[in-house]
Symmetry: C2
Subunit: 365 residues, 2 copies
């Protein structure tokens, strides 16, 4: 039989831990009517990210014949987008949709929930989550903050962002005021970048006025909506800090443990569906957006190898420093670093070579 535990990672341990606190009859609560609230970190306008949470909530309701209702709220409707973890931990809301790396200030180990810079690509993230022990390790860590998490999508590899001038050498990073999300800023700081934390709606005016020199968000489809192409010409790739970033669906741990088995099953299955749906949606929408951006004058640029290599060296130094003082980080880093090496050993053979030939054949017409 298939190992069902691979998909319900951590649920077992949590259920055992909570058994004393939440005794309940076996049958009577099998299909109770439950109404929860979910706070998203994202605005409704992001139909890829927020749309994933909509799909999740609708599917859970459909699968339970409408008995388990999770009402969804956009960023700012109940709590600000970056306070979703706190709201779920405090049970202000029972559930949330967020990127766990937003909370790297509480503990840098949160970055592993979403993306480690120079980490796994989108498909490798799923292998690690579902089969490589990732979900177990993450939920062991998330439990310290009173939440249970399910992978809830992927933006796929992101772009490196919008720059007003070209980056040709490592020196060009010095003093660069760069709006960059989360943990990557700590790596870039080592190379002289001045990382900026700016909310989505405030990035465009800052870039227009020159208050900042560059800004990254997600990729062509989402970035186009924010209009960056109008005020910065150079669009760099890849976003090496986000090779396969995963937003999470999170639940107050006590509330999660109280859920009937059927409803947990509905959440886990709907979460896996949301995961594949969102990644597929980004792949579907990005090509046309990229073409529109280029037609409007955007210049695509790869980060020079010299810059990538300097960033990689800085990242490894930072990971070693944090691992010395933070056992949560070390445990997750050791898992991801070993997994990444195995995964790319295989990826470079069939998968990468297939893509290489397909790209070449396409270019030849």
């Amino acid at each position: 039989m298939v190992q069902r535990r691979e998909l319900v990672a951590g649920a077992g341990a949590a259920a055992v831990a909570a058994a004393g606190s939440f005794p309940k009859p076996a049958i009577a609560q099998a299909v109770p009517t439950i109404k929860w609230r979910m706070a998203s970190s994202f605005p409704k306008s992001l139909d890829t990210l927020y749309g994933g949470a909509e799909l999740f909530c609708k599917t859970v309701a459909d699968l339970t014949d409408g008995k388990f209702q999770i009402q969804l709220f956009a960023a700012g409707e109940i709590v600000p987008g970056l306070q979703v973890l706190d709201a779920v931990q405090n049970n202000t809301v029972e559930a949330g949709q967020t990127a766990m790396y937003y909370y790297f200030g509480k503990n840098p180990a949160f970055t592993f929930g979403t993306a480690l810079p120079f980490g796994l690509n989108a498909r490798m993230m799923n292998a690690w989550f579902y089969h490589g022990g990732g979900n177990e390790l993450l939920n062991e860590f998330f439990a310290k903050f009173g939440v249970y998490g399910i992978p809830g999508g992927n933006t796929n590899c992101q772009m490196g962002g919008w720059f007003r001038k070209e980056i040709k050498t490592v020196d060009d990073l010095k003093g660069l005021k760069f709006r960059v999300g989360g943990f990557a800023g700590r790596i870039l700081q080592k190379l002289g970048v001045v990382p900026q934390q700016i909310a989505a709606g405030d990035i465009y005016p800052a870039l227009e006025k020159g208050t900042i020199d560059a800004a990254e968000w997600v990729g062509p489809y989402d970035d186009e909506k924010l209009g960056f192409y109008k005020v910065a010409q150079y669009y760099y790739y890849p976003g090496w800090w986000e090779g396969g970033p995963c937003p999470h669906l999170i639940f107050n741990l006590g509330k999660w443990n109280e859920l009937p088995k059927l409803y947990k099953e509905a959440c886990i299955t709907a979460g896996a569906q949301t995961n594949v749906w969102m990644s597929a949606k980004y792949d579907h929408l990005n090509p046309a957006a990229l073409k529109r951006l280029v037609a409007q004058g955007t210049q695509l640029r790869p980060f020079p190898a010299e810059v990538i290599e300097a960033c990689y060296a800085a990242a490894r130094d930072l990971y070693a420093e944090i691992s010395k003082e933070n056992s949560d980080f070390k445990k997750l880093y050791d898992s991801v670093a070993a997994y990444r090496s195995e995964q790319y050993l295989w990826w470079q053979v069939a998968e990468y070579t297939f893509d290489t030939y397909m790209i070449r054949l396409r270019a030849k017409g």
Copy 2:
């Protein structure tokens, strides 16, 4: 709101078509007890492929509180592995797990359900299925054979197979007796290959005796079980005929249309979960298998560019020929060919460049 129809593609049309045939009260049949049988094309020993069907059946049962039971049978238990489509069409069994390209002899358009040679990679397949109109187009075609299909996994890009001698030029393909699954044989025939259709269990002795010169199956994890490395030294990549092959879960169309909405929802959600689970499982298991094979003396070889390009030209010729005489094939080919061009336009930017750097950085240590 999210477009739920993206995931239930084709279900609406099928339901409308059948509404006259299967009138039913709105409530009374909401949660009937239903027992179905599913015939798989795969043996139990393939815990990745067959394991996906196990997960699907278990999840559907769990989501319906045990009321919708689908009992799974391995290849040969009810019908031989390559007769699953017929068995589902004839309602010998209500459901099946199979690779639709096995039936390319009935109509070459079946190849689009699984993989078009030089087609989409695994992630692009999902984008096409769920958002690019793929599920709608396929189910329009499958309906002619009385079945409804749901994508049920991915092996990810396959290997090109095991060869007893090296392939250095296109001439080396002439007269080569090659065990190769399905539609790819028709392309290779144009280059002088003599394709062989041989069931899994008979490949090893044929390769050992020299009755055939080469054989392809799936990839490291599955191939290792069949022992090919003991009798053929050269392991070629990539399997350009299977960039992201998807096994399908199929249902007798009349039976599918009779299902209560809740049970259809359970199948569709569980199918999406199975899809991401299987792809992740292959990614998880293949690296260690590859290392074991290489440790046992297997020599990895990429197909030479000259060979790949000759195969690509032959494939394009074949697609043009079939499109002239087969409107099912043409409709699906036009969709996939256009989609592939858009997808690789974008893929080569962030995703491929990220992988390129990660592979280089890994090699440098």
